[in-house]
């Protein structure tokens, strides 16, 4: 039986899209995806995701690697994540979790957020996408410079 297990499926240059009605609320691009059909996990290389953000515009995130839990609709981005939450606001962290059902981005790793003349650092981050409500936790530091 073991010999009949399906081998991992390797796809190059993939693009996945999630739609709610006429709104494309999720787009995932990866240079390569290795899909474990049995484990229902897709390992991604050179990942780029775009999340619909309403009036604030799309949220763009990229990372060298990622993992898509196809059973739970949870996407992990790893290996140095960088993104833009809205024009003029960028963030970086080591690892990020996107939970499609709750519409949240979460990092349990040190995070840095840069706005014009404002640097924020903290131990962890949680971002509610719909409201663009940002929570930072643990050793929060904000440095505000005059224009």
């Amino acid at each position: 039986v073991r010999g009949l297990e399906a081998p991992p499926l390797v796809l190059r240059g993939i693009a996945l899209e999630g739609w709610t009605g006429a709104v494309r609320d999720l787009s995932v691009e990866a240079a390569q995806a290795t899909i474990d059909l049995e484990g229902r996990v897709a390992k991604l290389d050179q990942v780029r995701i775009s999340l619909a953000g309403g009036e604030a515009g799309p949220l763009e995130v990229r990372s060298p690697s990622g993992e898509f839990d196809l059973a739970r609709d949870v996407l992990w981005l790893r290996g140095g994540v960088e993104g833009q939450t809205r024009p003029g606001e960028r963030f970086s962290t080591a690892e990020l979790r996107f939970d499609q059902e709750s519409g949240r981005l979460h990092s349990a790793h040190p995070v840095r957020i840069e706005r014009p003349n404002l640097d924020l650092t903290a131990s962890a981050m949680d971002l509610e996408l719909a409201a663009r409500r940002l929570h930072l936790y643990g050793s929060v530091r904000a440095e505000l410079r005059s224009k």
Binding site: R86, R115, L118, H135, L144, R145, S146
Partner: protein, 182 residues
């Protein structure tokens, strides 16, 4: 020997020049009291938690909670909760307005330290444009202390650029008279 203290209790407003003319006139108790902020200096805020959200009015709000510490130049502020409100974004723009906030409200065991002055109150509101701060207290007076000199009032208003302070409501001053020959 304990310094001789002058105690005054007032129920009207009181305006004190805190530091503007320091060096030009003999120092008085009033001139020793006051808080001056280097408005161009970087502002650093540390806390255990932060919440930031775009306000529907087009302003960004950033709220710091638990163990909040603020420093700007030689001014330090401690409190439990702090809200920074930024100027309104350009019409139709999602780009956050950077730099220093337009208004900061600090609440809960607010303690401000600067150049030997210590102010304590339950709420302090800083207006960056007006270069002012108002310290109010509930369940006790707002206080400003410098060594043995003390001002207590319902409200203490600081001009952070001019170094002038104004005390309003149940004002009580405890000040050491200037020593002779100084």
């Amino acid at each position: 020997m304990r310094p001789r203290l002058l105690s005054i209790a007032l129920h009207a407003g009181l305006l004190l020049a805190a530091s503007g003319a320091a060096g030009e006139q003999p120092e008085t108790a009033a001139q020793r009291l006051g808080i001056v902020v280097e408005s161009g200096a970087p502002l650093e805020i540390r806390a255990d938690e932060l919440e930031a959200l775009p306000d529907p009015s087009g302003r960004d709000r950033v709220i710091f909670q638990q163990n909040v510490r603020v420093s700007q130049g030689d001014m330090l502020l401690h409190c439990n909760w702090l809200e920074a409100i930024y100027p309104k974004r350009a019409e139709g723009s999602a780009t956050p307005v950077g730099g220093q906030p337009e208004r900061i409200t600090a609440r809960g065991a607010v303690r401000i330290l600067q150049a030997g002055n210590e102010a304590n109150c339950s709420e302090a509101v800083f207006d960056n444009q007006a270069c002012s701060a108002e310290c109010t207290a509930s369940g006790g007076p707002a206080t400003l202390r410098h060594g043995d000199d003390l001002i207590e009032a319902d409200r203490i208003f600081f001009d952070l650029c001019q170094g002038v302070l104004k005390a309003r409501g149940n004002v009580r001053i405890q000040a050491r008279p200037p020593e002779s020959g100084k």
